[in-house]
């Protein structure tokens, strides 16, 4: 193993690698595949934020002490009650912490999750909303294969999945609670009956006053979803404001740009076809364990899918492993899979999928960050 790979890895991890250095890194990695597991473990560890130690105090506590010191230094402070905001920490990539935290929050708030895509590109936003977005906007975004947990100024918490973007204007939490999402997020919304929390996406708006939910909405994916686990939520379609949907627990709303909905026959209750979008309500994919559902598994660092096409699974892999996946034969995209992965490498995951498919109809080639799925020979 050439020593240079460790230098290149350090540049990659600290975000300082040039394109040429990344290419060199992947070439070295390809020549030494036995290091893939180790390098992937290190990368996951790297993306995880440090945990506060036991002695570490809360931000508020530190801030209070700091204010006392400021006063002692003779500094006039207009608002001693000022609360610090924008604490940001990356999601723990291990399952334990978010799980404990989540189940605690379950008792005080409802949980729901939903997905939406591409508002920034497609949404014919009203002028005022566009203004909010354009002026003084705060933006948090995640890279491929990384996740972020953040606390919004109103105290609401968001887990932002890979390749996602969250935008909100100044005054959030005081004058409004409107937020724009592209990608996938899991929200725990702080209760506030006066100011509703609204999530805007290309295909739908979701309005709540206090609950917890997850959103999947990648611009390049053909459907957007809102799935509710507990509590209630109101969804409005972007292209037809008169259409409102009230989700019940364990339901999700799927909105499709072309009126084509996969697996429409499985949908128990509702299907409408407004001008451009089709929306349908369906039951959430069945629980994995401990009331977890497939839609929220990513929060626990699990990559899960339930009776999904290979193309859909590949979309998830692309974000999870930061790769690009191409199918040589479109037939293969229609293979269906159910499963979940956690610590597996991409190769391990694809091998497991090969093994569980009768007749092993596909093979794969991983070349740098390009994966090609081929018909088995």
């Amino acid at each position: 193993m050439p020593e240079r790979i460790w230098y290149l890895l350090s540049l990659k991890l600290s975000g300082e690698a040039t394109k040429a250095e990344l290419d060199e890194f992947y070439a070295l990695l390809e020549a030494n595949p036995e290091w893939e597991t180790a390098i992937q473990q290190i990368t996951r560890y790297w993306l995880q934020s440090p945990m506060p130690t036991q002695q570490a105090q809360s931000g508020q506590d530190l801030w209070n002490k700091h204010q006392q010191r400021m006063q002692a230094a003779g500094i006039e402070w207009a608002d001693p009650e000022l609360v610090t905001t924008a604490e940001l920490e990356e999601i723990s990539l291990e399952r334990s912490t978010p799980r404990i935290w989540l189940w605690r929050s379950l008792s005080v708030a409802a949980i729901f999750l939903f997905a939406l895509a591409g508002w920034w590109i497609f949404r014919p936003a009203s002028e005022t909303k566009r203004e909010i977005a354009a002026i003084n906007q705060n933006q948090v975004s995640t890279r491929p294969a990384s996740k972020t947990k953040l606390t919004l100024p109103d105290g609401s918490k968001v887990w932002l999945n890979a390749s996602s973007k969250l935008t909100y204007g100044n005054g959030f939490g005081e004058k409004h609670r409107e937020i724009w999402l592209e990608g996938e997020g899991y929200f725990d919304v702080a209760k506030n009956k006066q100011i509703p929390f609204v999530i805007h996406t290309s295909r739908m708006d979701v309005r709540v006053t206090g609950t917890v939910f997850n959103v999947r909405a990648y611009a390049q994916e053909p459907t957007s979803e809102t799935a509710l686990i507990e509590g209630s939520v109101e969804v409005t379609l972007s292209n037809d404001k008169s259409k409102k949907f009230y989700l019940k627990p364990k339901q999700k709303l799927v909105v499709d740009e072309h009126g084509l909905v996969n697996g429409a026959k499985e949908m128990p209750s509702l299907r409408v076809t407004p001008a451009a979008f089709t929306a349908s309500l369906q039951a959430l994919a069945k629980p994995l364990e401990d009331n977890q559902v497939v839609e929220t598994a990513w929060v626990y660092n699990m990559l899960s899918f339930s009776d999904e096409s290979f193309r859909q699974v590949a979309n998830k892999f692309e974000k999870w492993y930061a790769v690009e996946i191409r199918f040589e034969d479109p037939e293969l995209e229609e293979l269906r899979f159910t499963g979940s992965f956690r610590d597996e490498t991409l190769s391990e995951a694809l091998k497991a999928m090969q093994l569980t498919t009768p007749g092993t109809p596909f093979g794969f080639v991983v070349r740098e960050r390009q994966v090609t799925i081929q018909k088995a020979r």
């Binding site: 130690t53 530190l62 801030w63 700091h66 003084n136 705060n138 948090v140």
Partner: protein, 191 residues
């Protein structure tokens, strides 16, 4: 970590031009915990570290009108914390003229990884062990890049090391970690 650089600059600008107290509070919330952690590694006392970081932020407020001239606020905060820490240590012990590269570091307390119960995988457990076993200075470089999000050159500047030293130390750290995981993975296969 992924907080937009842009956003930090916005806070800086709001503090400088409109004495925005909310922006100042956000800046504090964003950086105080990690600055205290860094400072504590140098001065080795929690209370002292908190006071030093408070002083750094008081200085920021006092100089708010010229804050827009600061090129890279994050680095400015770290360098200030380092200088204040060295001043503190010198004031405690006048016969030494301490330099940052000669310091004893208390890495165990504040740069500790979470104690994991049986939740992490075997490989992860090995990885965390290997991180713990890195030599102090190597670990500090590693953690300043990983957890504080500093660039390699910034760490070199902050710790008065050559950029080459930082590069080498980081590469050594990653190699050690990879070897530990690799060994555990092989062991697992054999079992």
């Amino acid at each position: 970590m992924h907080y937009d650089r842009l956003h930090i600059q916005e806070l800086q600008h709001a503090i400088a031009t409109s004495e925005d107290q909310q922006a100042y509070a956000e800046l504090f919330a964003r950086f105080a915990p990690q600055l205290i952690r860094f400072t504590k590694a140098i001065v080795q006392q929690q209370e002292v570290a908190e006071e030093i970081v408070s002083d750094v932020f008081i200085r920021i407020w006092e100089k708010r009108k010229s804050l827009d001239h600061v090129q890279h606020l994050k680095m400015y905060l770290y360098v200030s914390a380092r200088n204040f820490s060295l001043n503190y240590l010198r004031s405690k012990n006048r016969q030494f003229s301490l330099q940052v590269e000669q310091l004893d570091l208390d890495m165990a307390s504040f740069y500790a990884d979470p104690h994991e119960e049986a939740v992490g995988s075997e490989l992860r457990h090995e990885l965390l062990n290997a991180v713990q076993q890195l030599p102090d200075r190597c670990k500090m470089i590693f953690k300043l890049v990983k957890e504080d999000g500093l660039k390699q050159k910034e760490v070199a500047e902050l710790l008065h090391l050559s950029p080459k030293t930082v590069e080498n130390q980081l590469a050594i750290a990653l190699k050690k970690l990879a070897e530990a995981v690799q060994a555990a993975a092989l062991f697992r296969v054999k079992k």
